[in-house]
Structures are given as C-alpha cells and as structure tokens.
C-alpha cells in the first residue's frame, strides 16, 4: 500500500477511535452509538433519503461548478497577463469564505423579496446546489489552475506542432493535468457535502425537500437525538473518505 492510500484510512481509524473513546466515556454516546449502528444497518428510509439527497444536491453543485471552473481554471493556468497574480490571490483568499456569510448573501438574493426572488431558488434544492457551486468555485479554480500550471509548458506547443488548433492544444493540457483536475473536483464535492451555512440559509432544512446530512446532524443534536446524529455523521464521514480513497486508487490505476 502506498502512503497516499493510507491517509484516508488513517483518518477513518482516527475518527472511529474518537467515537469508541466517547462511547466508553460519555453515557449518552454509549446508547447513541449502538442505536446509530442499528439505524444504519436497518437502512432506515428517512436516513437513506437524507443521504441520497445530500449526494444529489452536492453532486449537482459540483457538476454546475465544473461548467465554469474548468474553462476559467485552464485559461488562468495557461495565460500570463498583468493582474493574473491578483486574480489567483483573490481565489485563494475566497477559499476561506465563511459559508454562513455566503449563505446570508444568497438568502438576500434568492428570498422572495430579493432581486432574484422570481427564480424560485429559495427553499429549493436547485438553489442549494447553486449556492454550494458558488461556494466551491474558488477551491476548484485554484486547484485546476495549479494543476494546469504544473503541466510541462511545452505540451501546448507540442500539441500545436503536431497539428492541434488552439482549443485542441488547451484540451491536451487539460488532459495532461487530469489527476489535478480530479483532485479539484473531489475536494469541491467534499467541501459542498460537508458545508452547513448555505444549506441552512437557502434550504432552511425543509423535511423531504432540502434536508441534508449536515443540517440534520445539527438539528437532531439540538433536539437530543444523538443516535440519529451519530448515524448521519458516520455516513457523512464514510462518503467523504471513501471518495478520497477511491480517487487515490483510480489515479494509481490510471498511471
């Protein structure tokens, strides 16, 4: 096994250890953990639908984001112009944007009295997806830009001298940076599925409509339903970490 594969596994082991320690130390946790395992094992329909909805909403967000991030990231990575460093710096700074702040801005835009109220994005899963897509844009663009910049600068000229047009040559550069682009997409998806601010502000955690894993964990914990929270947290961690693990494996297979 290689180091890269070991990292997600180590993280899983780390969290499981914390869970187990808590199980023994905290009484609430002890009961909750057993219940959580039962809920997952019995594939509770509510938990299942929340999980699938989370994947769907964040998956849509990632796909939307790719639509604009790939062209921008590739263009930014390939070009050199005055102010490029400023733009890159801007995206890097936006990596740390507080999700609640972004959620608030989107709330003001999307709510029925806001300028985009007529689009009906408020309390709408698509609205949540768009919000998450905006949230993960800086991550994906930064990663793709770096990946493209890391490609041998002669690749573009090489493709051209072999007959490629400007667009075909840029596509070849993108292809050469595949592993970086995949990493960008995975990081984006993981950030989207793990965030809470946009989900709460735009989706308002409507049962059966915009209720996703993170919001439900927050809700059920405040309600005292520790078992459900733990079950959902385990599922969330499993999704995030297994995607990272699969990506690592797939990239090694491709190489």
């Amino acid at each position: 096994m290689r180091k890269a594969d070991a990292i997600p596994i180590l993280i899983i082991v780390f969290f499981l250890t914390i869970f187990l320690v808590l199980v023994f130390l905290v009484e609430e946790f002890t009961e909750g953990f057993g219940e959580a395992i039962r809920l997952i094992a019995s594939s509770d329909p509510e938990i299942l639908s929340i999980t699938l909805r989370s994947i769907y909403i964040s998956g849509t967000a990632t796909v939307l984001s790719i639509l604009w991030c790939v062209p921008i990231g590739v263009a930014l990575g390939l070009s050199s112009f005055v102010g490029k460093r400023f733009i890159k710096g801007l995206f890097n700074a936006l990596l740390g944007i507080p999700t609640v702040a972004l959620g608030l801005i989107l709330y003001l835009l999307f709510s029925s009295s806001g300028p985009l109220g007529s689009l009906n994005l408020f309390l709408n899963p698509l609205g949540v997806s768009i919000g998450q897509a905006i949230l993960i844009t800086p991550i994906i663009i930064s990663f793709i830009t770096s990946a493209v910049e890391a490609v041998d600068p002669d690749i573009k000229d090489l493709a051209k001298t072999l007959g490629a047009s400007e667009t075909e040559a840029s596509f070849m550069v993108l292809k050469e940076s595949t592993s970086g682009v995949v990493l960008a997409v995975v990081a984006g998806f993981n950030r989207a599925i793990a965030e809470l601010g946009v989900v709460l502000m735009i989706g308002q955690n409507l049962r059966g409509r915009t209720r996703v894993l993170t919001a439900t964990i927050a809700l059920e914990t405040t309600r005292g339903n520790i078992a459900v929270s733990i079950a959902l947290a385990i599922i969330l961690l499993t999704i995030v970490l297994s995607i990272s693990l699969l990506t690592n494996l797939a990239q090694r297979r491709l190489k």
């Binding site: 041998d152 002669d154 690749i155 000229d157 090489l158 493709a159 051209k160 001298t161 072999l162 007959g163 490629a164 047009s165 075909e168 070849m172 292809k175 050469e176």
Partner: protein
C-alpha cells in the same frame, strides 16, 4: 530546387530580449539545412516561427509559397512539424503519443496503426506501442519524439538539437533516420544545432546564427573551412592561438605563441596571426611516434569532460589544447587527469581564424 519554406525579414522580441533580428532564410525542397549557433542565439525561436507555433513581431513566413497568416495558420501548420530539444511526451502510451497527430488529421484507424508501426520501426523501437512513453530511457524518449514527427510525414521536418545529450546508440539511430527520411521520403529537414561537427555529418547547407542574426550562409564546408571569424567566435573553438608567424623557405610557417610553443602551419601568412586547430584533428598518444605530422607536443591531461561516445580532454602542453577522442580510445589508452600524453597534428590542420 523550389523553395519550400521562407522567412523574410523576421524579427521577434521577448520583452527586451531580441531573439531574432531581421532574419531572411530560404529552405529549398529536399535539402537538409543546418542552422548552427550557440545556445541563446535564437535557433529555437526561428524553428518555432517556421513551425507556425510562434508569431514573429514583424516579417513574413511563407510555406509552399503561401504567406502564413492568422486565417490559414492552422492549415499551413500541418505541412511542418517540430521536434523539441527538450524531449516532451504526453503522459500516455507510446502508441497514443505517436498517433496523436494522425488522429488530429482524422486518418482512418487502420492507417494510423500502420503509420505508427512504420514510424516506430524507423527509430528502431518496434513493439514499444503499449509501453508508457515517460517510463522509457532518455534516448528512447527522444526517438519516440522523432517517431511522432515522422509518422505525420510532413514535407518539412524541423529538429531542434535532436541529439543533444543522448547516448551514442540513439545518436546514430537518429542521425541515420534523418538521412533516411531525407533520401527516401524526400523530406526537407532543418536541423538546429550548436555542434558544428553534427552539421558536418548530416548537412549540405548551413547558416550561422549569432545573437538573432544570420551572419553567414553557405555549404557546411564553406562554413567550417572558410575563414569564418564568426564561426570561431561562436563555437568557442578552444584551440585558438595567437602568435607571430614567420614563413620559412619550405612553404611552411612557424607561429611562435606567446609562451614558448611553436606551431608549424601550412599558412603563408606573416606577422601577427590567430589560428585554430580542430580538437578532432589532434592525435593523442601515450608515446611519441614517427609520422609526417609536423607538430608534436608533450603535455599533461588537466581536464576530462564529455558524455556519450566522445571525450574531450584539456591538455597542458605549454599552451592549453583541447582534443577529442572516442571513449573507447580514452579507456584503452588508460587516460585520466594527470596522464602524460603526446599531441600530434599536421601543419595543414592549422586554420587561420
């Protein structure tokens, strides 16, 4: 012979650096043209402009008599291809690398397979199709680059330092392929090199590029053997000696260098002269031997350099000489720094700068 490619008053700057300065050049159909120049003289820029992947700041490029412009660049570009000095490969299989340009030309699959196979055969890497290109050795990688260009069978093939830093086997394969492509397919070839001796091996016509300007043009012989002050300047031909020449009665002259060394030459010049001796014209031996050569010096090896099949030695024999021997001779003579050696060369090997 008709002109295949032509540069007309081409200039190109990168910021403040003048890469090319009013370069005019004609490459005729079917010839091997060598562009000689030191690193940084603008060779790569010139090749990229001919390959239509770099635009000149001013001047015109003609391929097949057609002026290259924005609107026809993508089409005209298809009749030429450039092999880079620094081997650049796609992170894919050898097959995908070689097939890339053919796929862009929308050739049928069967044709692509055949062309890839033929190209790999030419560079003596048949059967390498499924190997990962980047996992091959340096020489093999450069041959893949060449195969990728050959597969396209473009009328004009541009090679940027095709054999720099390669193993001897790859050098000989590449030089052979270049000649073969020229002879059998009538491919017009332009080679850029800083190695004048490569120019001598492969080429018919040559131009000397210095600081972005073409300072001389002619056959390789004219360039190498002519009284080219520029060439001596550029190639930093190490064995350049200054001294006072006296003509003796027997048609030879004795050039007394600033040290005690006297070089005999066949030149009929008097007074202050600067001469050079090509490193490979000097015979290195462990012992003195009888020969017709007029110049014999004894000295010690003070430096050894070079990779591949040739080794360059710096020898202190009163004046410092640079000589070139094959690695095999180097090993068989048991040479190393400090070795005592004799240097022998003919009076007629002494050239006037």
């Amino acid at each position: 012979m008709s002109v295949l490619a032509e540069l007309e008053h081409i200039s190109k700057n990168y910021g403040k650096i003048k890469a090319l300065d009013d370069v005019t050049l004609k490459v005729r159909k079917g010839e091997i043209f060598t562009l000689v120049g030191p690193n940084g003289s603008g060779k790569t820029t010139l090749l990229k402009i001919l390959a239509c992947i770099e635009r000149p700041d001013s001047g015109n490029v003609y391929i097949h008599g057609e002026r290259v412009e924005s609107r026809n660049r993508d089409r005209v570009k298809l009749s030429t291809t450039l092999v880079f000095q620094r081997t650049t490969l796609f992170s894919s299989s050898v097959y995908d690398n070689v097939a890339y340009g053919l796929r862009l030309r929308e050739m049928p699959k069967v044709q692509i397979e055949e062309d890839v196979r033929n190209a790999l055969e030419m560079v003596k890497l048949e059967g390498y199709e499924n190997r990962l290109a980047k996992k091959l050795s340096g020489g093999e990688q450069q041959r893949i680059s060449l195969a990728r260009a050959l597969a396209l069978n473009t009328p004009l093939l541009l090679l940027d330092e095709p054999t720099a830093n390669l193993d001897p086997r790859s050098v000989s394969v590449i030089e052979e392929v270049i000649r073969m492509a020229n002879r059998q397919r009538d491919t017009t070839i332009l080679i850029a090199t800083h190695n004048v001796f490569q120019a001598e091996r492969t080429a018919g016509k040559a131009a000397l590029l210095l600081d972005g300007r073409i300072v001389e043009m002619g056959t390789v012989d004219e360039l190498l053997w002519g009284r080219s002050r520029n060439l001596a300047k550029f190639s930093r031909l190490e064995n350049i000696f200054s001294g006072v020449s006296e003509v003796s009665g027997e048609g030879i002259s004795c050039i007394r260098l600033d040290g005690e060394v006297v070089i005999e030459s066949a030149l009929q010049e008097r007074g202050r002269v600067t001469v050079f001796v090509r490193p490979e014209d000097i015979i290195v031996s462990r012992d003195r031997f009888e020969s017709s050569a007029r110049n014999v010096f004894v000295g010690r090896v003070v430096g050894v350099s070079g990779r591949g099949s040739l080794v360059r030695l710096r020898v202190d024999a009163g004046a410092e000489f640079v000589v070139q021997v094959t690695r095999r001779s180097f090993v068989e003579l048991g040479l190393n720094v400090g070795s005592r050696v004799f240097l022998t060369f003919k009076a007629s090997s002494v050239q006037l700068v």
